[in-house]
Each structure stands twice: as structure tokens, then as C-alpha cells.
């Protein structure tokens, strides 16, 4: 069985930083398991700027930010396995990896969970009506557009005003698509100030505050939504043919659930970045990964 000092699950910003800092802290044999084709995680679908202001002191796109870290990793002896998913962790410090390279069980001293976060979905909310086509998360839309170069639809309503939603509203609006409205349950839009400035204000994206979507209309493709004003209780109908959701992110810790169930998380496992809690900007995810070993009180590594 191949043994590693550190297994890093997830090769996004957090995972890459954790692996690099592991090396600096004396760990030698380090493996990053990444389920996608290359390192970078969600950064690879972010064509917009605003990344790296904290860490690099430069305004980079997500892709550029990812590339800088990819290079840093490549220059080291850190091993990377792409197209590889960790199917399960076992209490005896082993893991089952599955990927295009094959299925392999490996052992490790320390495991870093850097699996990021996932988007909350529409139907996890109390939403009545039909279940038609034309509904997806803002992140899925971002991947389809920025990585695959596809269009997703027109006459768009966005549920929520999360950052990815605002970014997509901006991008879609600039590509000539009609953003009918973003629907926000609070009395102010969510997301970063700079996104509000760059997208909502600059592009005059209509935001309906204090409101939620309560019903989906349309038998085959979505034809509109019912919007409820939470202050007045008033219901209104808004026509659309595409609905994106930007209603929040949830740390992705499924692997821990399937591996350990309700048992305690072992002391050889550390969470980093968005799977711990959802960070506002990538620079702080990187910082979290880099500082990881300062506070790690778990099992000492075998190289010392």
C-alpha cells in the first residue's frame, strides 16, 4: 500500500495552499487528490477579476489565481492525482481512491479535507408548483458558460443575491441577456460590496428586496415564478424562461458523513477553507491553508 505523510482531498485554493504549507512544515510525501481534470477547483470557472488582492496584491481573474498556485505546486515534489475522487476514509488512516488511474487504497499520517462548498438548491426550500427545465444553480450556469462556452438561456430571474448570482447577473447582462430580477429575502442585497458596485449598481440589475420565490410555473420549461413580499404578504407573478439560484453555500463534508457517520471526526483529519465554513474571498481560503500547520495539534508526522 502506498503511504503518504499527508493526503489532501481537493485541489482548489485551500487544498493547494495546505499542500504547499505541509511541505514547508517538514512533511515530505504529499498527495493531492482532485476530482476534476486539473488543479484549481471552482476558481477555474471564474473568469471575472477580484482575486488575489490580499495575497498577491494584484487584481487577478480566478483562472489566473489558480494558475499561479498550480505553478507553485508543480515546482515542488507534491504529487497530484487529477480525475480522482476519494470514495472513503477509514479509521485506520487509509483511503480508497477512484479515478482514471485506477482504484487504489493508500495510507497516510494526516488527511486534509479541502472539499470546498456546494450551492443550496431551489427545492430544498419550501417551493410549490411544477418541476420544469430551465432551473439551475448560478455555479452550474457559470461552469456551462465559462468553461464549456455554452449559453444557458434568456429572460432570467435569479433567486437570491449571493456573490455568484451577482457575478452571473453581470456576465449575462453584458452578453445581452435580459435579467428580469434578482429576488432577495433580506432588506439589502447579499454578497460583497464590490460586486454590488460592479454589477447591481453599474449594470442596473433590478433587485426585489424582502421577497422570496414561493411557486414555480411552467409544465415543460419554466414560464415564471410567484414572488411573495415578506413584509406585506403580497403575491405577484414574474415571467421568465430561466431561473438561477444563488441562495447560499453549504460546506461540503459528505465524505466525513459517509466515512464516519455519527462517530467523532478522527484527530488526524483537518478541515481547511470552505468545507470548514464558507469564506467570502479566495485569499482568505489560501491564508487558511497556509496557516494550517500552526495550529494543528493532531498526530505528529512520521518524517520527524
Amino acid at each position: 500500500m502506498n503511504h503518504y505523510d499527508v493526503l489532501v482531498i481537493g485541489g482548489g485554493a485551500g487544498g493547494m495552499a495546505a499542500a504547499l504549507s505541509a511541505l514547508e512544515n517538514g512533511y515530505r510525501k504529499i498527495l493531492i487528490a482532485e476530482r476534476k481534470e486539473s488543479l484549481g477547483g471552482i476558481l477555474l470557472q471564474c473568469t471575472h477579476k477580484g482575486f488575489g488582492l490580499g495575497y498577491f496584491g494584484e487584481d487577478l481573474s480566478g483562472i489566473e489565481y489558480a494558475e499561479r498556485f498550480q505553478l507553485k505546486v508543480q515546482r515542488t515534489e507534491i504529487q497530484v492525482r487529477c480525475n480522482t475522487m476519494v470514495l472513503r476514509l477509514y479509521p485506520d488512516q487509509t483511503a480508497l481512491l477512484s479515478g482514471t488511474d485506477g482504484i487504489e487504497k493508500i495510507s497516510f499520517d494526516v488527511c486534509v479535507l479541502a472539499t470546498g462548498c456546494r450551492e443550496r438548491t431551489l427545492y430544498s426550500q419550501e417551493i410549490s408548483g411544477t418541476r420544469p427545465a430551465g432551473i439551475m444553480t448560478a455555479g452550474t450556469a457559470q461552469k456551462l458558460m465559462n468553461v464549456d462556452g455554452l449559453e444557458i438561456g434568456d429572460e432570467i430571474i435569479i433567486a437570491g443575491t449571493g456573490d455568484v448570482g451577482q457575478i452571473m447577473a453581470g456576465q449575462l447582462s453584458l452578453s445581452g441577456k435580459r435579467i428580469i430580477a434578482m429576488i432577495e429575502k433580506e432588506d439589502h442585497p447579499g454578497g460583497l460590496k464590490r460586486n454590488q458596485e460592479n454589477y447591481l449598481k453599474a449594470l442596473r440589475i433590478p433587485v426585489i428586496l424582502n421577497s422570496v420565490i414561493t411557486r414555480v410555473h411552467g409544465r415543460k420549461r419554466i414560464e415564471g415564478v410567484e414572488v411573495k413580499n415578506l413584509l406585506t404578504g403580497e403575491l405577484s407573478f414574474l415571467k421568465c424562461s430561466t431561473l438561477l439560484t444563488a441562495i447560499g453555500m453549504i460546506p461540503e463534508t459528505d465524505l466525513l458523513k459517509t466515512s464516519f457517520g455519527k462517530e467523532a471526526i478522527p484527530d488526524w483529519l483537518i478541515k481547511v477553507g470552505n468545507c470548514k465554513y464558507v469564506h467570502e474571498i479566495v485569499d482568505s481560503v489560501t491564508a487558511d491553508g497556509l496557516q494550517l500547520w500552526d495550529t494543528f495539534k493532531g498526530r505528529p508526522h512520521s518524517s520527524t
Partner: protein, 485 residues
Amino acid sequence: MSRKTDVLIIGAGILGCFAAWALSRYKISTAVIEKEADVCTGISKANTGIIYQGYDQHPGSLKADLCRKASVSFPALCKELDVNYKKRGLLMLSFGPNADRVLEKKIRNAEVSNIPDVHLIGAEELYRLEPSLKKGVSHALFAENTFVVNPWELGIAAYENAKANGVSFYLNEEVLSIRKESGVFHIATNEQEFQAKRILCCGGLNSDALWELVNKPKIRLVPQAADYLVFDTDCGGLIRHVISVEPEEKGDGITIVPTCDGNLLLGPTRRELNGSFDGSTALAGLSELKEKGKWLLPDLPFDQMIRSFAGVRPNPFYLDQNGTITDKSLNDFVILEEDGFFDLIGVKTPGITCANELGQYITTRILASFASAPELKTDFDPVRKAIPKISDLLERAPEALMQLPPEYREIFCRCRNVSKGEILEAIRRGASTLDGIKRRTDAGMGRCQGGYCMEKILHLLSKELQTDIYKITKDGPGTEIIKES
């Protein structure tokens, strides 16, 4: 040119698929037409998937008889078709004397109908079995031999084996007209014309309208909606049995099902639709379920709800001589038959339970209607294998994962660990839509609801079907996933 067939089945829901499967054992030609893009999409997909034992049914009824047979032979059926199922057992709870009497009546039904493994238990035993339930239960009916299954999985298995044994299926074809000429039915669809000696209508909510294309009206279906909530697999451990409540006062109970996949399913509600066939969920229904769920299972975590959906049920009523709906509803299965036209009309609960038995039963009747009854085939191939599941192997035999072809190592669905190989196999077996893949492999059924895998499956479908990516649909024409403008 008409396509000639001995039997034409209208509707490839679970009943149509099982009837086709039963007919495929005989030297007879069978064709099935389905208006949707896939099999088992209507009533067949939106229900609890419980295999009942039949104590709910009036002794001596067809329902009681078929249910009893079905639940006894269900493990063997699932083995034959290689379908996943779980023996859960059902606990029907009573909170007072009125409901106690109903339970006692059901126990007597079970005795009279010769249904094994149904008995009454007291509160102490109940809370030993299910400690998380609301306190205050007086008695419970324990139907130990109750199973759960994914209903579409069961129907798809029958479809696959029927197809392997020579039944032709025509999807996306809707019946436009039927006429009868010199003892032969001429059925026009939006695509072609069929000539059939017999028609078997398994048209679900349309089975009354289809009947009336050639026959005198007899029964009218009154649609009723049912809402459901689905909870994440994390909640699956909260209860181990199917739980239902016999209401103490007049009103509808609630059912909680730990599904085959370990999710919790709450439902159904019963909502009158006043004639419409609107299969959408209603806020009132969802709130009702939430309220009842919280009441019955106080620890139920509502932040783990991953989906809600609705189904429409047919409620059959007899028509009087003037063609008006009487208040005489049908309690038993009714099979209309008129001169070679058979109709499984208004089948609802326990339709999933009895799908196989109804298929065999109707086949016997159809065969008997021919002048000389068709013989059994000698080359019937009973082997149907399920698509291998990485997630199952991971639990049962991780070493077996190594034996699978390389495409089974690439994970497409992160929530349910569904591999590319499973999706390719589903496409090979006839899935052409995103929902078709979902029903055959579980991809997209987990907590992220396709957030990760949808884009990957979209590309794979486009590549494998050699279809433009903008033409790939969720569930048939008009439901394209992405739209070019």
C-alpha cells in the same frame, strides 16, 4: 403502412411494462406506445414505493388476493429482475380507541385473507422498535413483511426484460385516434399507424379517455394530487420501519418511508384537484406534511429536506346512465373489457405492489380471448441484470470495484457516487434524458440535486446520442436543459 401487432399496450408506466413482460413469455407479438420520452414517468414515479401485504383490502377482493400474492413473492421477483429492495416492515400507529378498532379490523382482514406476519403490538414494543416516534401511541399494527422499492426501478427492470424478449416500445408517441374495422383495431399516433388484434390500455390518468375513444363511457377518473417531501440520506437512520398513522378523528394520516436508498420520504397528502390534472405541489400540501412530520417525528431535521414533489392519482367513479359521475367509487381493481379492448382503469394504491400480478392476471385474460390460446415461448430469456452500482460495491465488496471496466472508476455524481460507466450503461439501455439517467442510476438524486453532475451528464448524453447539446432534455421534448437564443 401500418405496423401490425397481436397486442398493443397503450402506456409504459409500471403496469404497461409488467403486462408487456408477462406477454413477452408467449408466442405473440406485443408493442407498447408511450407518450412520454421514457417509461415509468407518470404515476409510476411519484409514489411511496411501499409493497403492501393486503390487510387494508376487503377480504375476497382482487386487491386483497393480488396483494397477498405480491408481498409473498416479492423477494423472488426482485431476485429474478435483479432489483434492489428492502424489507422494512410497516408500523401503523393508533393514538386512541377509534383507531384501535380500525387496526383490529385490519388484523381480522389479514386473518380472513390468510395474510401472514401481521399482528398487533403494544406501546412498549413499538417504542423499542422506534424510539424517536412521538409518545402516546396506544397500539400499532405491525406488518412485518412490508417492503420498499424504487417503483421506477422495478418498472424499468420489467421493461428491459420485456424488450430483450421481443416486445417493441415506441416512446414519444401519443394516441390520436382508435377505430375498429373488421375485428381489427387501427390506432393512429403522432408518428404512425398500428393494427392490433387486442388493445390493453394502461394509460393511467388517461385510461378513461382512451377507453371512450371506442367504447361507451363507464367509469370516469377524478384526479387527486399527492405531495411528498424527501429528506437526505443522513436522516435515514431516524426510523427503520415504514410508519403510518391511522387517524383517530376523521382525516388523513401520514406515512414516513425510509426508502431503499436510505432517504426519508414523507407523504402523501390527498388534495382535491377539482378536475384539473395539475401535477404541481401546493404550499398547503407541503405545510401540512411539515406539520404532520414534526408532530410524528419531533427530531426530523427540516434543514435536511432536499426536494418536494407531487403526483396525481386517478380516483375511479362509475357513471350513471346519463353519463354523470355517481358517488359510487371503485374500491377494487376494475378491468374493463369490450370486444378485444382491455383497460386497467384507475389503478391506484396498491398498484405498484400488484404491478406484476396485474400483468400476469391481464395476460391470462388476453390470452384466453384468442380463439386458440398462444403458447409459451421456448426461448424466453429470463436474465436481467441491474446496472452495477459503485455505491453498492463500496459497502458490500470494495475489492470487486477493481474488476469493473475503467469507466466505472470515474465518478460523475458526487452525492451518490455514480460512475461514468453506470451512466454510459443507462444510455445503452435506452435512457435519453437527464431524468432517465437519474431514474436508472440515481445520479442527481442526492443532496446537491445535480449541481455537480448535471453538466457532466449533459455532455456525455450529447456525445453518446450524437445530439446537439442544446437538444438534450430533462424529460422529453420541450424540456431542454440549456437554451440558445
